[in-house]
Structures are given as structure tokens and as C-alpha cells.
């Protein structure tokens, strides 16, 4: 159980924490989305890394190879990546519209604007 | 009509009446005719059940399962029979009175008033005939909800505040104490049916737990107005007088003490509780409520408020008598439900008639009013005598059984409480009678007035007469009460 045998997990956790930290600590909506993407990336790594065998190859039976990587994690993560892209695209689209509506993408300024609107009685 | 279908009819008649009342909302005369007709029909239906029940039958209807194993079921036993009889009988008189009162005062939303009133009676019938705790609880809550629009009839801020207290007290107590008590009973015994002798007899309960469960029940039944959960009753005085009569005499508080007696007799079982010291707190609390409420009534100048605290006090007579746990006192408790109902409705009718005719609400304004409204004040006197317990008024007889019960139970404190409170009753009622008849009018009224509208006066004369006559025809109530109290 050397450090290097679990190296990929260390990276996974580092990415996970870094991403989550950015999501929580940053008020800028775009930066939050970047953090979210990093966070999701850690999951890709979590799934993919154990599926790789040293010396293994793509799982196409050709008689020359005996050791194959597990293809299932790749399939799963392909799906997860698509989901991630969709989320990111939707998030960015929302940010664009938020900017059009509020002229800012800083969360605290948006909340201030809402509160001000509440005080003036223009809220929903 | 078979007894079983009579039970269902007793529920259906007031409900259908409410629907018809709404349908006839635009024709007031027709609407009132519907009210009176359903009241008459209801009394006839309920009366039809008396014979079989006295003969020892227990007509029952099981409809369908509300929860697995707990059906929506009705069963008529003597206690519920008596309660249903009182409520349905007083509904007729109350309707008559309402017609005079509501028209005389030009009240708004009369259709809503009559419809909710009819629904309240349906709920009362449900409470009276429930065969298990779940059915009972459902109708008990329904009664609270349908009387809420009645209590808040005027729709102004005072009504809203009164309604809040009313709903708050009744819902808080029933949801927080009564419901867990019922579920605990179910969890302990596997049943929620009412059975003579009680269902908790064999349950694995320590004495302390038994006392606790009894406390949950007694304070959970907020409608019984045991102190300190009595505050809703004075608060509900914002309602029009016929509603106060409904609350105090016909349905609501009567449902409270009815449920209290029913729980003691049919859930715990008097014999089972008799030897348990952990339930001794109940007579004490009830006795305290009797005296304390009487003292408050003595100090109240507002007539309806005085009557309200008088009710709080009288209700605890019932609880006290039931808590003595001997058959004689339980007979007294059950009879008192009926006698107090008749007497108190007379008093409220009188208070309402005074308000309708003279627009007076305070006791101190009543000097000499007996000369302008002789019928009303005569009826008031009869009602007061009944509540004090002076023969031949009906109240005397229930008190008589209670006093005998205290002796049988050997509870001299309870006897003293009844004695003191009788004096207090006299102290807060008789000055009104005296002032009304023997003092001259201190200030001339703003307008010259005589009696209230005929319908109102007729109603209060009927109830006053009933108060006097009841003892002579008391065999049916007495037989029912004896049958309920057991040997």
C-alpha cells in the first residue's frame, strides 16, 4: 500500500475538494461553474483509473492480447461526461440570462438587488 | 326504520339539511323551514332509538375501514343515546330561537350560519354514536372545525381573535394530547373500541403511566374545559348568542364532558381506575376548576362572560362526578349533562333576548329589566335556580346523585366543593334576578322596548318549562344514565 499504488485516489480527492471549495467559496457565478466542473472531473477519475490495467488494451478480441481494460467504467463515464457538459451548458446559459437581467454575475450583488426590489415592493 | 338505519339517518338528516339550507339560501322562509324540519326529523329519528336501547339492545353500524382494522363504526349505548337526545331536542328550540335572534339583529351570512349549525349537529351525532376512539376523534375534530365559522360569525377583528383562541385551544389540546393518547391506547391494547368495563384493563401499564394516560385524555378533551384549558370558552363569547347556546348547551362542551365520561367508563373502566392512587389528581383538578371558575364568574360584569365561567364550573361537576368512580356519581355526571344543558340554554337564550331587545350586555345594566321583559327574566330565574340546584328545577336531581356519590365514595372534599360552589352559584345568579325584578330602572333605556321577538321568547319559555318539567318525566334520562353507569 504505497502512496503511488493509490495515487489516483489522492488526485481524485484533491480535485474533489478543490472543486467543492471553489463552488462554496466563490461568489462569481462563472467561477462556481468552473469549480463544479472540476468537482465532476474528480468523479471521472474515480471511475476510470481503477478500470485501467497496466499493459491492458482496448477490449476488442483479436487473439493477440489477453489482458484488457474494463470497458464498463468508460461507458459510464462517457455518459457522466455528457451529463456534465449538459449541466455546464445549461449553467452558462443561466448565467448569461442572469447577467442580462441583473447586469452582474456576483451572487451577493444579485441578492442585494433582489432585496432592494423587495423593499421597493416590486417583488413577485 | 331499523335501529341501524336510524343511526345513519341521524347523521344524514342534518347533513342533508345543511345542503338544502345552502340550496335555499335565497328564500329565508324556506331555509328556516328546512332547519326546523330537519331538527324535528332528527329528534324523531333519535327518539326512535331510545326504546331499543332501554330494552338492552346496542344497535350498531360498521361502515368501512378507516385504517386497517379500525372501521368507521357506530354503536348506540345509553350514554351516547342520552347525549344525542339532549342535543337533537335542543336543536329544535335553538333553531326557533335563532330565527328570532338572527332576524331581530339583522345578522349577515345567515345561510352560512344555519348550514354550519346543521353540520355541527351532524358532527355531534357522530360523536354521540361513535363505536371506537378513531371515529370519535374524527367527529370531535369536525365539530371544532364546523363551529369555527359560527364562532367567527361577525368576521371582524374581535371575531378573528376569539376564533384564534377557540381553534387554538381546542386543536392544540386534541392534537397534542388526545391523539397520542388514542394512539397509545391502540398500541397498548390493539383496539380502539369502546367496551363496557374498559379496554385498558389488562394492558401492561404502571400506575404512574395510567395516571399520565388519563391526564392526556382529560386535558386532550379541551371541550370539557378543565382548567387550565378553559380559556377558549369565554373567548368564544364573541359569537352570536344562538352559537353560544350551541357551544354551551347543545353540542360543544357537552361533547367534551360526554367524551370525558365515555373515556372513563368505556376506555379505562371505572372499576379498573378505582384502586389506582395515580389518578387521584383528577377530582382535585376538577374541584379546583369548579371553585375557581365560580369565583371568576362572580367577578364578571359581562353577562355572557359570567355565564361562560359558570359553564366552566358546571362542566367540572361532570368530570368530578365521573372521577369519583362510583356508580351513583357517574349517574349524577350523566344526568348533569342533560340538566345543565337545559338550564344553561335557558340562561343564554335570556341573555340573547336581552341583547336583542335592549342591547344590554352587562350585569350592572339590568336593574329593573324584569318589568319590561317579564317572560325572559322569569325564564332566566328558572334556569338560575336549576344551576344552583334548587328543587323542583332539574339541576337539583343531578346534584342529588352527585352528593350521594361523594358519600358513597367517601370523598368529603368533593362534597365540600359541591357545597361551596352551590353557594357561589347562588351568589352570582341571584343578584341578577333580584336586580331585574326588585330594583328600579337606574337609567331609562335608549329606546322603549318590551320583549324580544316572539320566536326567541317562545324558545326560552319552552326550555324553562322543560327545566321544570324534566324531573317529572325523568325516568328515561335516569334509566339511560343507570344503564351507562353499570350496576
Amino acid at each position: 500500500m504505497s502512496f503511488w499504488s493509490h495515487f489516483s485516489y489522492a488526485v481524485t480527492i484533491a480535485l474533489l475538494i478543490a472543486g467543492l471549495y471553489v463552488v462554496i467559496a466563490r461568489g462569481n457565478l462563472i467561477k462556481k461553474l468552473i469549480g463544479l466542473s472540476i468537482f465532476q472531473t474528480s468523479v471521472y477519475l474515480l471511475y476510470i483509473a481503477p478500470g485501467k490495467l497496466i499493459g491492458g488494451t482496448a477490449p476488442i478480441v483479436d487473439g493477440k492480447h489477453a489482458v484488457y481494460s474494463n470497458p464498463l467504467p468508460h461507458v459510464l463515464i462517457l455518459t457522466a461526461i455528457v451529463v456534465g457538459i449538459a449541466t455546464l451548458a445549461l449553467g452558462l446559459a443561466l448565467v448569461v440570462r442572469i447577467r442580462e437581467a441583473y447586469e452582474t454575475i456576483e451572487e451577493d450583488e444579485i441578492l442585494d438587488a433582489d432585496r432592494a426590489a423587495d423593499r421597493d415592493g416590486h417583488g413577485a | 326504520m331499523s335501529p341501524a338505519s336510524a343511526i345513519l339517518a341521524a347523521l344524514a338528516i342534518p347533513t342533508a339539511g345543511a345542503v338544502l339550507i345552502v340550496a335555499c339560501g335565497r328564500a329565508p322562509n324556506l331555509r328556516e323551514a328546512v332547519t326546523l324540519a330537519s331538527a324535528g326529523l332528527l329528534l324523531a329519528t333519535v327518539a326512535a332509538l331510545v326504546g331499543p336501547v332501554l330494552a338492552g339492545a346496542r344497535p350498531a353500524v360498521v361502515l368501512f375501514d378507516l385504517l386497517p382494522g379500525i372501521p368507521l363504526a357506530f354503536e348506540v349505548e345509553p350514554l351516547g343515546m342520552l347525549f344525542a337526545l339532549v342535543a337533537s331536542g335542543l336543536w329544535i328550540v335553538n333553531s326557533l330561537y335563532s330565527i328570532g335572534y338572527m332576524r331581530g339583529n339583522d345578522e349577515p351570512h345567515q345561510t352560512r350560519f344555519y348550514a354550519c349549525f346543521a353540520l355541527a349537529l351532524a358532527a355531534t351525532m357522530g360523536v354521540a354514536f361513535s363505536a371506537n376512539l378513531l371515529t370519535l376523534f374524527g367527529f370531535y375534530e369536525l365539530l371544532t372545525l364546523v363551529t369555527y365559522p359560527l364562532v367567527t360569525h361577525h368576521g371582524d377583528d374581535a371575531a378573528r381573535r376569539g376564533g384564534r383562541v377557540y381553534l387554538g385551544y381546542l386543536m392544540v389540546t386534541s392534537i397534542v394530547f388526545l391523539l397520542p393518547a388514542i394512539i397509545a391506547t391502540w398500541a397498548l391494547t390493539g383496539t380502539t373500541d369502546f367496551r363496557p368495563g374498559g379496554i385498558l384493563a389488562g394492558a401492561p401499564l404502571s400506575n404512574a403511566a395510567l395516571g399520565g394516560l388519563l391526564a392526556l385524555y382529560m386535558f386532550g378533551i379541551g371541550k370539557a374545559a378543565l382548567m387550565p384549558v378553559h380559556r377558549w370558552l369565554p373567548a368564544a363569547m364573541v359569537a352570536p348568542t344562538p352559537v353560544s347556546a350551541l357551544l354551551h348547551a347543545v353540542a360543544v362542551v357537552k361533547a367534551g364532558v360526554f367524551v370525558a365520561v365515555k373515556v372513563v367508563v368505556y376506555v379505562f373502566g371505572a372499576e379498573m381506575l378505582a384502586g389506582v392512587r395515580a389518578v387521584d389528581w383528577l377530582p382535585t383538578v376538577a374541584g379546583f376548576t369548579i371553585v375557581a371558575a365560580s369565583v371568576v364568574a362572580l367577578r364578571a360584569d359581562n353577562l355572557k362572560r359570567r355565564l361562560a365561567y359558570s359553564t366552566v364550573s358546571q362542566l367540572s361537576y361532570v368530570v368530578l362526578a365521573a372521577a369519583l368512580l362510583v356508580p351513583l356519581s357517574i349517574v349524577g355526571a350523566i344526568l348533569h349533562i342533560a340538566t345543565h344543558a337545559v338550564g344553561k340554554i335557558t340562561l343564554f337564550f335570556a341573555a340573547g333576548a336581552i341583547y336583542t331587545a335592549a342591547h344590554k350586555t352587562e350585569v350592572s345594566q339590568l336593574d329593573g329589566i324584569g318589568r319590561r321583559m317579564p317572560w325572559t327574566m322569569a325564564a332566566f330565574t328558572v334556569g338560575a335556580l336549576s344551576l344552583i340546584g334548587i328543587p323542583p328545577a332539574a339541576g337539583f336531581f343531578s346534584k342529588w346523585y352527585m352528593v350521594q356519590g361523594t358519600a358513597a365514595a367517601g370523598n368529603w372534599v368533593a362534597l365540600a366543593v359541591i357545597g361551596v360552589s352551590t353557594l357561589l352559584n347562588a351568589a352570582y345568579f341571584l343578584p341578577i334576578v333580584y336586580a331585574a325584578f326588585f330594583r328600579p330602572e337606574r337609567v331609562a333605556p335608549a329606546h322603549d322596548h318590551g320583549e324580544a321577538p316572539l320566536a326567541s321568547v317562545a324558545a326560552l319559555v319552552i326550555t324553562a318549562a322543560a327545566t321544570l318539567v324534566l324531573p317529572f318525566f325523568g325516568s328515561i334520562p335516569l334509566a339511560l344514565a343507570r344503564a351507562a353507569a353499570g350496576p
Binding site: 482496448a58 476488442i60 462517457l78 455528457v82 451548458a89 446559459a93 448569461v96 447577467r99 442580462e100 447586469e103 | -
Partner: protein, 143 residues
């Protein structure tokens, strides 16, 4: 960028090959890395490249918004249609084995159509996303 002649000429040269490459990736999916996702993205990239060089309005004339949106829906329908075809032919939902006379051919056929559906949807989605972001009136201060 309309005025950069070099770019325009190169773009016109490269775009057909990009589309061709997309088709190659699409059909090579049976034997090596490739398939609908990648092909769809490459095809959409070709179109986006076109839009960048020749301008959004021109690109919208070539592939109107409506077409992109239709592609999104159509691809999903093709995919779901393969599933339903399996169902109609007596198998379970998404059953490839019953699509042809023997299971191996059936699987080929099923995967082919599924990948086609994926490619159509993915390129449609990519294009639509690009149109929606590029098509918004850009805001005032950071032009």
C-alpha cells in the same frame, strides 16, 4: 472576419474534409475508437468553424435554428425507434438481437442506427448551444 481571405479559402478547403472525417469516425466506431458522440461533435465543429469565419447569419442560412432543433429531436427519436423496433419484433426494449435474421447481424444493425441517432442529436445539440450563446445580443460594456 469576413475580410480575411486566407482564412476563408482555407476554411472552404478544410470544412468538407472535417465533415468527411466525421463520417469516417462515425462508421469506424465498429472497429476502433469512434462512434456517434465523436462524429457528432466533429460535424458540429465544422459547422461552428463555418459560422465563425463566414458569420452567424450565413451559417444560419445553411443550417437554420429550426433544423438544428429538429436534429436534436430526430436523433432521440431514431434511438428510441430502435428500441421500439426491438419491441415490435418480439424482443425486449432496445433488443438488438431480433433486428435481423441472426443476433450478430441484428446487433450490427441496431448499433448502426443507435449511433446514427446519437450523432444527429449530438451535432444538433452542439450547434444549438453555439447558436444560442453566439446569437444573444452581447452586452454593453465588454465589447
Amino acid at each position: 472576419m469576413r475580410h480575411y481571405l486566407v482564412l476563408r479559402v482555407i476554411a472552404k478547403l478544410v470544412i468538407p474534409f472535417m465533415l468527411l472525417f466525421a463520417l469516417y469516425v462515425q462508421f469506424h466506431g465498429d472497429f476502433g475508437p469512434g462512434g456517434g458522440f465523436q462524429a457528432g461533435v466533429i460535424a458540429a465543429a465544422a459547422m461552428i468553424f463555418y459560422a465563425i469565419v463566414f458569420g452567424l447569419p450565413t451559417a444560419r442560412k445553411v443550417v437554420p435554428d429550426r433544423v438544428a432543433e429538429t436534429m436534436v429531436a430526430l436523433g432521440v427519436l431514431v434511438y428510441a425507434g430502435v428500441g421500439l423496433a426491438g419491441l415490435v419484433l418480439g424482443g425486449n426494449y432496445l433488443d438488438y438481437f431480433v433486428l435481423d435474421h441472426d443476433p450478430v447481424h441484428g446487433q450490427h444493425r441496431g448499433i448502426f442506427w443507435v449511433e446514427a441517432g446519437v450523432a444527429i442529436t449530438v451535432s444538433g445539440v452542439m450547434l444549438k448551444i453555439f447558436y444560442m450563446f453566439a446569437g444573444r445580443r452581447s452586452s454593453r460594456d465588454d465589447e
